[in-house]
């Protein structure tokens, strides 16, 4: 029995979590006693005896489950255990609940975990729509409503969309570039295990006295600095989610730069790889700003520092500047990997090379650069420097240019292509182009200062964000999941159910979010549990479509689970793709390749006779010698 508590695993994880939490409480009580304070502080915003254990307990869990074992042995100068690959690859379902270093296992862990958070976040959205179906109070009070929409947004952003993209890229990116794994497999495992901790922490805030955090996902000071205890759960959870995505991005960058197969130059990389390269650049350089902003709020709450305390020389607006310096790039973090997925899906199912491949890649880089210069367009009505408004408006309009390049390149790819929709993935990709374009255009409208002032904090904003995040990001996620489901599981999904899911999702999305534009322009404020009775009919309609949207997601869940278990065996290359992940078995073997493939051409050479992207080991060597040894930087 003792052995169970010394081996890495769940027993040790629970033990270490409890010990770390107890240590945290003890530390706070001890320090407060030494300083002559009462042992337990229970002011509205403080609670250090809860907050310190909240930081330490997840670290205890990570230690217990075994994320740090190798590094600790190394650090203490012990001989490291030779890598026997025993924690690599999944041989039964139990291996998915352990620290695993295989990028494919981690990818599946990511996808499944973040999808569970998607369902929980969706459930919260259903509660929000139930409350808003009629004017007046229906099922929850105003305060719970604030918690609901805050938690909904935080779950969807930090533990669904961002890690879902990280998960899918984790699975396919090393395969696409011909790498046997990610550059730092143990760091990859650590990144994954921080994700459920962050999600659970967000949800656990419902148990805190005063309810879950309710200052919105933006957590503006001074609302957040004086909010009840639940806000601290958000501040700390974001740190774990942030570290997780920074380490994953670092891993992607190093993998892409140093581990490409022979012949895989930068200009031969699939656009999904380009998309994750640019997203990772954003994550690495922007995410520290939200860490910083939430540290500051936490310090103001716990130590009563004065970052945002006006009376003591603090600056309230500075929170918004620091927050949006991350959170505007974050919206590109939430869409660029989706752009990559759409490029893959469109090209394969339209049987044409990507139109303007290099410009597509450069547009991604352009978005990365420009996205650092637009943050204050979220703050036109915040009382910031007025001279900053027009420059921010101009850069905001400018960033529509590279985005437009991508839209037109997809249309150029489709033009005269042999479009077929035998896969639901293609349906979602086509729908995404339309829906995202509408969301993008309302984004340009919001970039205009006068229009933005008119619709600030109305449902127009809600409509815009959901058109780009649901109609954009989530549609690309579904496209990607349908596209790579056969590769990940080795099974085919039920196409008929996929179609029902697609049409239900499309109608639900448009029905829910299009009317929000209208009620928003008429002045219905967002983030309020009640509204003027004149908006009642529209809101009932919106709620009905929202319930439809929620219900059809259950079809997707059923389809995926049943197909994973009982679906017909998938061929290696069901869609006729050319990139390397389609040239290996479905699912790929534990180490991806017996021998690293050689890349001899572009990734999208559809319809070009004799064109090859990569040559797998053991295949014929009838490749021109000039093509064989091109190695990128």
């Amino acid at each position: 029995m003792v052995a169970a508590f010394t081996r890495p695993g769940w027993y040790r994880a629970v033990l270490c979590t409890v010990l770390a939490a107890a240590f945290g409480v003890g530390l706070v009580v001890l320090l407060r006693s030494i300083s002559g304070l009462s042992a337990f502080q229970s002011e509205q915003a403080g609670y250090p005896q809860v907050v310190v254990p909240l930081i330490l307990a997840p670290l205890g869990f990570l230690l217990g489950i075994g994320c740090f074992d190798y590094w600790l042995r190394w650090g203490f100068g012990l001989p490291t255990i030779p890598d026997d690959h025993s924690s690599h690859g999944a041989y039964s379902w139990k291996d998915y609940f352990k620290v695993n270093t295989d990028h494919k296992v981690i990818g599946v862990q990511y996808v499944v975990t973040s999808f569970i958070f998607f369902l929980i976040g969706g459930l919260l959205a259903m509660l929000i729509r139930a409350e808003l179906a009629q004017p007046g109070t229906q099922i929850v009070g105003a305060s719970t409503f604030n918690s609901l929409f805050s938690t909904h947004a935080v779950l969807m952003i930090f533990v669904f969309i961002i890690p879902m993209f990280a998960g899918m890229a984790n699975y396919v990116l090393p395969l696409m570039i011909g790498a046997p794994d990610m550059a730092f497999p143990r760091l990859n495992a650590l990144s994954y295990w921080m994700l459920p901790l962050a999600g659970i922490m967000f949800l656990a805030s419902f148990l805190a006295p005063g309810g879950a955090f309710d200052a919105g996902w933006t957590g503006y000071a001074p609302l957040s600095t004086s909010a009840p205890l639940g806000q601290s759960f958000f501040n700390i959870g974001v740190q774990f989610a942030g570290f997780s995505s920074i380490f994953t991005a670092l891993n992607f960058l190093v993998t892409i730069v140093t581990m490409r197969a022979p012949g895989m130059t930068f200009w031969r990389m699939p656009l999904l790889v380009w998309a994750n390269l640019s997203t990772s650049l954003l994550v690495v350089a922007a995410t520290p700003f939200i860490s910083g902003a939430q540290f500051m709020v936490l310090l103001d709450r716990i130590l009563h520092t004065n970052f945002f305390q006006f009376g003591a020389g603090g600056d309230v607006i500075s929170y918004q500047h620091i927050f949006w310096f991350y959170s505007h790039p974050a919206v590109y973090i939430m869409i660029l990997p989706g752009f990559g997925i759409i490029s893959e899906v469109i090209s394969v199912h339209a049987r044409k090379p990507i139109f303007g491949y290099r410009l597509m890649a450069l547009a991604l880089i352009g978005i990365v650069v420009l996205s650092y210069s637009v943050w204050a367009h979220h703050m036109f009505v915040a009382g910031m420097f007025s001279w900053l408004r027009v420059p921010m408006m101009l850069t905001t309009l400018l960033i529509a240019v590279p985005t437009g390049i991508k839209i037109f390149s997809w249309l150029g790819t489709l033009y005269f292509g042999k479009i077929h929709t035998k896969s639901t993935a293609m349906l979602f990709a086509l729908a995404m182009i339309v829906t995202f374009t509408i969301g993008g255009i309302s984004g340009v409208m919001l970039g205009m200062v006068p229009f933005d002032i008119h619709v600030s904090d109305t449902y127009f904003i809600v409509a815009h964000i959901h058109f780009v995040l649901f109609g954009g990001s989530v549609f690309t996620i579904f496209a990607g999941l349908y596209h790579w489901f056969p590769k990940m599981t080795g099974r085919m999904y039920d196409e008929r159910l996929g179609r029902i899911h697609f049409w239900g999702t499309l109608i639900g999305t448009w029905g829910t979010f299009i009317p929000m534009h209208w009620v928003g322009m008429d002045g219905m404020p967002r983030r309020v549990a009640d509204y003027a009775s004149q908006f009642g009919d529209w809101n009932l309609l919106i709620s009905c479509f929202a319930f439809l949207l929620g219900a059809v997601q259950l079809i997707f869940v059923y389809n995926m689970i049943v197909s994973w278990r009982f679906g017909p065996k998938a061929p290696d290359n069901p869609w006729g793709g050319k990139s390397i992940e389609w040239l290996v078995s479905s699912p790929p073997s534990v180490f991806n390749f017996d021998e690293i493939p050689r890349v001899v051409g572009g990734p999208y050479e559809y319809g070009i006779p004799g064109a090859r992207h990569a040559i797998m080991p053991g295949e014929g060597a009838e490749v021109p010698a000039t093509q064989q040894t091109v190695v990128g930087s």
Binding site: A183, I246, A261
Partner: protein
């Protein structure tokens, strides 16, 4: 950073009987830069941006709010003590460089000496810093100035602590005879060394901004 010390899965593990597989194929090295060196450099970009968020706050509190007195009236910063501390930290950058140059030439004694000196200098820096906090006379709650002074220097102190943790591991392994001349055999010194240089340069920026500017 921890990941710096992670060797790759390589070669056959010798446990083929347990699971029916051999090890992964060696990855193609598509860039001249070592992946662990690149990893720590990218991590440092993140760290710079974390400092950037606090510097942003600093300039908001000082320039935008523009308080009547900076620092608040009765207090002043011990520039001389901090300047001496700066000299200590800067010299530790030279000692870590000495250690790295030593092991590059295969001189393990020089490496041990360099690492031990760096470690001692780093600890001295932290000790002086904490001593400064004790005697400085204001707290993190003393207006916005106290807040941003403690958070910038404290954030840097936390990074010194992290760097020292990495150096402790490197020093322990050095004294156990783990590193050697070949480039891939002393990454455990090189990577913490790069991080230590970052901590050092960041201190110069913090010192110049908070104490002198």
């Amino acid at each position: 950073m921890e990941s710096a010390s992670v060797p790759l899965p390589h070669g056959a593990g010798g446990h083929a009987a347990e699971h029916e597989h051999h090890g992964p194929p060696a990855a193609n090295q598509s860039s001249r830069i070592d992946r662990q060196v690149l990893g720590i450099l990218i991590f440092i970009i993140s760290e710079v941006m974390l400092f950037g968020s606090f510097f942003a706050s600093y300039f908001f509190l000082r320039v935008v709010v523009n308080p009547a007195a900076w620092p608040p009236h009765p207090f002043e910063l011990p520039v001389a003590v901090a300047g001496m501390n700066t000299a200590i930290l800067v010299s530790s950058s030279f000692t870590i460089h000495y250690a790295l140059e030593g092991i590059r030439k295969g001189n393990k004694q020089a490496m041990k000496l360099g690492l031990a000196l760096t470690w001692i200098l780093g600890m001295t820096f932290l000790f002086v810093q904490i001593n400064e906090y004790v005697h400085i006379g204001f707290s993190a709650r003393t207006e916005a100035f106290g807040t941003i002074f403690y958070s910038l220097t404290g954030l840097h102190g936390a990074h010194v602590f992290l760097g020292l943790t990495l150096l402790t591991a490197a020093t322990i392994r050095a004294f156990r005879g783990h590193f050697d001349k070949e480039p891939e055999k002393h990454l455990g010194v090189e990577v913490p060394g790069i991080y230590w240089h970052f901590v050092d340069i960041m201190w110069i920026i913090v010192f110049a901004t908070v104490y002198i500017l």
